[in-house]
Structure formats: structure tokens, C-alpha cells
Symmetry: C6
Subunit: 87 residues, 6 copies
């Protein structure tokens, strides 16, 4: 993360690929948690609460989808990008 930003890594929503865009969505979601609960020790203590709870894992998924929706639109859904290999 660039030193000047706390909330949006690199101060940009643009990424080269969908995979990088999704990773950015995850980072932005985590940074919102971090600014709301700045104590790293507390955040670490909360980890088993959500990582072992199906309901919270689903809620995290909804949050990441919401962030990714913004980033995907910002990147025009990476329509110019051709992955070299698709599965």
C-alpha cells in the first residue's frame, strides 16, 4: 500500500486484470475493518469468530462482492483484457 493512503491501496480502483481487481476488493474490505477497529490485537482475536462461522463467512462474501462490483465497473469489466488461458 502506498504510504499516503489508508483506505484505497495505490489510491486507484484500476487494475490490470479481474484477479487483481478481486484482490483489491478484499484489501479495501479489510482496510475498512482496520480503520473501524485499529487495534491489531483485537482484530486478531476476532479472526476465529468469523473464520469458523458459516454465517459470517457468507456476510464477508457479500461485502467483497459489493466492493468488487465498484471496482469491476471502474475497470469497465476488463473487457479489453484477454487472459492467455481460460479454464
Amino acid at each position: 500500500m502506498s504510504e499516503q493512503t489508508q483506505l484505497i491501496p495505490g489510491n486507484s480502483l484500476l487494475t490490470a486484470t479481474p484477479e487483481e481487481g478481486r484482490a483489491l476488493a478484499l484489501k479495501i474490505a479489510r482496510l475498512t475493518i482496520k480503520i473501524t477497529q485499529p487495534d491489531a490485537e483485537v482484530r486478531e482475536r476476532l479472526r476465529p469468530d468469523y473464520a469458523n462461522d458459516a454465517s459470517m463467512l457468507i456476510a464477508i462474501g457479500q461485502t467483497v462482492a459489493a466492493e468488487f462490483s465498484i471496482i469491476a465497473a471502474a475497470n469497465n469489466y476488463w473487457s479489453w483484457f484477454s487472459p492467455s488461458e481460460k479454464d
Copy 2:
């Protein structure tokens, strides 16, 4: 899934059909859970929690809808696609 990606299979939001787009939405939703809870054993243990709980099944439905919304927009709602047979 292409080997280089962890979050977006094939590193692309584009699919040939709506059915494939929906399947991609499901995969992306699962990959978000996987990166948040990387332990396959724990994820397996959580399965009966959500698969037998109406409330969580509904929440999963909301998550998949959110992911599909992005993919459908990326594919311009597959407006060019004519399924050979409709029900």
C-alpha cells in the same frame, strides 16, 4: 481454474452463456470463502451448518445474486446469445 488465479477462475468475467455466468458467480463466491477460511477441513465441517439452515441458504442466495449481477453486466446480459431451446 487457471493456475495463476485464486479468486477469479480463468481471470475473466466473460462467459459464453447465462448458465456459465451463473456457475462462475457460484465459483467466485466459494473462492472468497476459501481465501477467508483456507482450511478445507474447517470449511467441510461448516457445510451442515449452512446447508441445513434456511436463513443461511437465503444469505448464500443473496451473495450469488450479487456476484451474478456483476458478471451479467460484464457480459452485457448475453443479449447476443440465442439459446437453442427455451422452457
Copy 3:
């Protein structure tokens, strides 16, 4: 539902009318539940849980709205369609 699809009936988001679009939203929402909990008996057992719970009925409403949002956009909100009779 066409035999080839499990998630999107008819493999298309296009419908002739808003009513059909809404019905499709309901079907797609149900198919997501079905693929997450494939056991019909379990799904049947869960029915009274949500059908008698105000909170879950509301959550189902949110899910269907989310699916319908995608379908309505795909159909350009059926702006070309004139229902013969309005209430």
C-alpha cells in the same frame, strides 16, 4: 427448464413480460438454494422454517429483488411492452 441447465432456466435472462421476468427471478433464486442443498427432502423439511418466519420471508424478498434487478436490466425494463390492461 431446459435439460442442459441447472441454474438459469432456458439459459436466457430475456422474457416477454415483467411478470415472466419476476417468475424467472423466483426460479433462479430457488435453483441457487437447490444447488447448495441438493437433497429435496432436506429442502422440504426447511420449508416451514422460512414460510412461518417473518424475518426469513423478508430476506427471501430481498433475494428475489436482487435477482429481478438483473433480469429487469437485461430486458431494458420491458420498455417496449404494453400490457393490454393495467390495474
Copy 4:
């Protein structure tokens, strides 16, 4: 509601005014509940559950907002409409 429809009154998302659009959003939200729980007596029994519960009233608000979002877009936000009197 026109007799032919169960989910979208009048089989149209178009309304003359924002007020009518909001009323339609409420109706569509209720019709989704109705098709999920068709027993009028049960629905009536659930009414005090949500009408006296702050949390559910908020959730209903979210559902109506989601439905209205679709209807407002369908009507291009009624940008052509001039209410005779604003408060």
C-alpha cells in the same frame, strides 16, 4: 391487480409518478411474500411479529428500497414529471 398477474401488478414497471412507483414497489414486495407463504391466515399471524420489531421494519425498508431502485430506473427516475407542488 390485473387478473392475469400474480407478481407484478398490471404487468408493467412504468408508473405516472414517483409516488405511484413507490406504491408499486411496496405491492411487489408484498406479492413476493404472498407467493412464498400463500396462506393468508399465516401471513396475518406474522404481522405483529414484524410490525412491532424494529429490526424487521428496517429489513422491510431495505427490501422496498431494492424494489424501488428497479422501478425508478425503469421510469428513468420520472425526470419528465413535474409535481404541481413541492414541500
Copy 5:
């Protein structure tokens, strides 16, 4: 609120400024609660339930954001508006 409307004050989504648009979002959210629970006394009794509950305050925030999203789009994000003074 204009006397003719119960759900959308002034029967319009258009406002002169973002601040007024946000205030409208709050009003519309409250009017949805009001039509679902028309008894003012009950609504007053529920106030401490949500005003002292972090979880419900957050949910109210989500509802207002959803309403504001519609209003902001209706006003093309007030892109023509220049506030005289920014903080």
C-alpha cells in the same frame, strides 16, 4: 410533505443539493416504516430499541444508503452543483 403523497415527499426524487437529497433519503426510509407500522405510539416505543442498538443503527445506515443511491442517480449525482464552500 405535500398532502397528496404518503411515500415520496413532494412526489419527486429531484433535489437542489446532495444534502437535500440525503435528507430526502432519510424521509423516504421513515415513510416506509410509517406505512408498515402506522401506529405512531408503537413507532415511538420502538425508538429506544434501535437508537441504542449498534446493529440496528448500522442496518438503518444501509437502508438510507440504498435510498440515497436511487436519489443520487436521479439527480445525476448533482454534477452541475457547486457548493460555495467545501470543508
Copy 6:
């Protein structure tokens, strides 16, 4: 915050950078809480409730994402902006 506004700081959704847009999303989310629970003492008392609860931290993240979605669209996703340094 400019003195004339209670809900939208500076009475504008436009920001120079994504980072500033995200900070605005956080502020707007907090101002909604503030107008719903105007008592600063109560808000302070609720802080440990959400700051130590994984579920609420996730819900806050969803709210901020919803606000940011509006601001990002208002700013056309800052597509004109080139951060001097990306991470």
C-alpha cells in the same frame, strides 16, 4: 464539515481522489448514525459493542461499500486521476 450541512460534508459527492472518496463514504455513514442517535454519549457507549464484534464490523463494511458505490459513480470512478505511485 461545512456548517450548513449535517449529512453530506461539503454538500458534494465529488472528491479529488479515490482515497478521499472512501473517506467521504465513511463520514457519510457516520453522519447517518449521528442523526439517528444524536446523543454523543450513547454513541460512545455503543462503540465497544461494534468494534469488538466481528459480525458488526462486517456489516459496517457493507454500509461503507454501499456509500462508496454512490461516490465512485459520482466521480466516474476517478478515471482521470493518475496516482503518482502505485503499490
